[in-house]
Symmetry: C2
Subunit: 317 residues, 2 copies
């Protein structure tokens, strides 16, 4: 059988998606229900401190879902949120003070690892959606302890899904920042960019936050022009992905290049270049002779590039 | 020529999209540049107070783009933001104290009207994107005067695109809340819902905010189940729309119903029902015998419904 050089085989899963959690939003205000779900035999806890997650070593494997007893043994909590239910048992997110992580790193029964690494190493794919929800929510609590409207200290409500101001009565809801990420296509070439903070050799799609008063499609065209100086035409939605760094949702697009001369915004990018479909395939598969490579399979950037490799010009029929 | 009963003719424009503004993001920190663009002969101002916009009466027409002199005559400002450039001339957004609107309503040379009505009545379609950006930004300033991290009062920076905390140094960026809006399809029927706050007879798509840690597609399925009790399968992106009420972006989807028995969440909806393609066409065109109708053409709900009327089952090939 002839396999096309652009058929890369089975697709890897996109990280942080495919949640099996029942968010049970209508029960968040019911403290007795939440407590009972947390006492359920199958209840488990995600413990997070800033960018890192606490994993329990269980024989040869690592488990980010701690038992309530294990979680209790980690020390004092900053915040506690109800993430959702799995078969009636609670998934709880807790945040620990950053200084505690140094203490926990010394414990032989635990591993302290940042969430990006957990995702990239494929350590606990089924827990990524719950970890993403817990991390985004807990980061929101840590950075939104005061009322933006009046300045008074606020209190967590609805099992962590709201913060209420006792002074002015405002209800504050968790924030999620929409961010477009897009691959520009010029026939058999696509546009990759490099930020200076990337590991050496790594290239990705371009991305940027959606601003007030613009559509995603307008944001895609604006960012392509601001960062790379190219004009783009059609914009085609691909997929979305929770991105809890610190609290975004990535919205993936392909877009058709109308111009190809690059004017790079060096404040945003260290470089950008057009890459042929065959070459970007080598980068994605990490067998490029120059050791350059594209983002790992858990990212939507990887999937956007892969869709271009497989479909080529058919992305814009 | 036979025209299909489901061909509704030319499509109306979606409101708040198709911006001609150059946001000139890289110039926002350059006060001298902004001032010079505001002194440009073509400079104009959008004046907003809460939900209402100030329009100048010019002969038989109404104009939301005020001259700098007209804007100056409206009274003291709460906040000022640089929205963008048109041919090098600034578009500025200003907010007025709510108590001023009563004074301005008495002036014969002005009309005070809420932004939704301006859009629905088609008064100034070319200004809707700028008004949307100005309104979302100014609402954000009005409700985010204090640092959510430390409680100190913050100051506007970057011509209104950031607020900085002088106490803890945090930079705060404008907030945009992603909100999915979706039309569920069951063969030749679609699902419409009614909120109690709607005008009598009006029906729409279902909608809800995207939560931390979920994809748009997961949010669509969750909301359909929470609000209508139905399970849905495939989810197909349609378009996005800025929705500055107060500061959202609407993300439109069609989704395939897997179950059709309705269990309505009466906290969210007053009613929901499956409507045949022919009947929903009568609602969209406002010629339904029972005087029921769907949302007006400027909304993405209208466009989602219209796409179903025109394409029917072809939405999910």
């Amino acid at each position: 059988m002839n396999r096309s050089p652009f058929d890369l085989g089975p697709w890897p899963p996109l990280g942080y998606v495919g949640s099996a959690l029942d968010r049970a939003a209508e029960r968040r205000g019911d403290a007795a229900f939440i407590e009972s779900a947390e006492r359920h035999g199958g209840a488990g806890v995600y413990a997070i401190s800033g960018e890192v997650v606490v994993l329990a070593r269980r024989g040869d494997s690592l488990d980010p879902l701690l038992s309530p007893e294990e979680a209790h043994g980690l020390g004092p909590l900053l915040e506690r949120v109800f993430v959702g239910l799995v078969d009636g048992a609670a998934r709880t997110g807790i945040s620990l003070a950053r200084e505690m992580t140094e203490v926990l790193k010394a414990r032989g029964d635990l591993l302290i690892l940042d969430l990006r690494s957990i995702a990239i190493q494929g350590l606990a794919p089924e827990h990524l959606p719950g970890l993403a929800a817990a991390k985004a929510l807990l980061t929101w609590h840590a950075t939104h302890r005061f009322c933006a409207k009046c300045g008074h200290e606020t209190k967590s409500a609805e099992a962590g899904w709201r913060r209420d101001c006792p002074a002015c009565g405002t209800h504050h809801f968790p924030r999620t920042d929409p961010c477009v990420i897009m691959l520009a296509i010029d026939g058999e070439r696509c546009l990759l960019g490099r930020q200076s903070r990337f590991p050496p050799g790594m290239w990705s799609c371009l991305a940027g936050f959606v601003e007030p008063g613009e559509t995603f499609e307008e944001a895609v065209r604006r960012e392509m022009f601001e960062e790379a100086g190219i004009k783009t035409g059609r914009v085609s939605y691909y997929a979305s992905q929770p991105w809890p760094f610190p609290m975004s949702v990535m919205i993936g697009f392909h877009t058709e290049a109308k111009t190809t001369d690059l004017t790079i915004d060096m404040n945003e990018l260290e470089g950008a270049r057009w890459v042929e479909r065959a070459e970007v395939s080598e980068m994605l598969l990490r067998r490029h002779p120059a050791q350059i490579f594209a983002l790992p399979p858990v990212t939507i950037a990887h999937h956007l590039i892969r869709a271009f490799i497989e479909k080529g010009a058919k992305l814009f029929p």
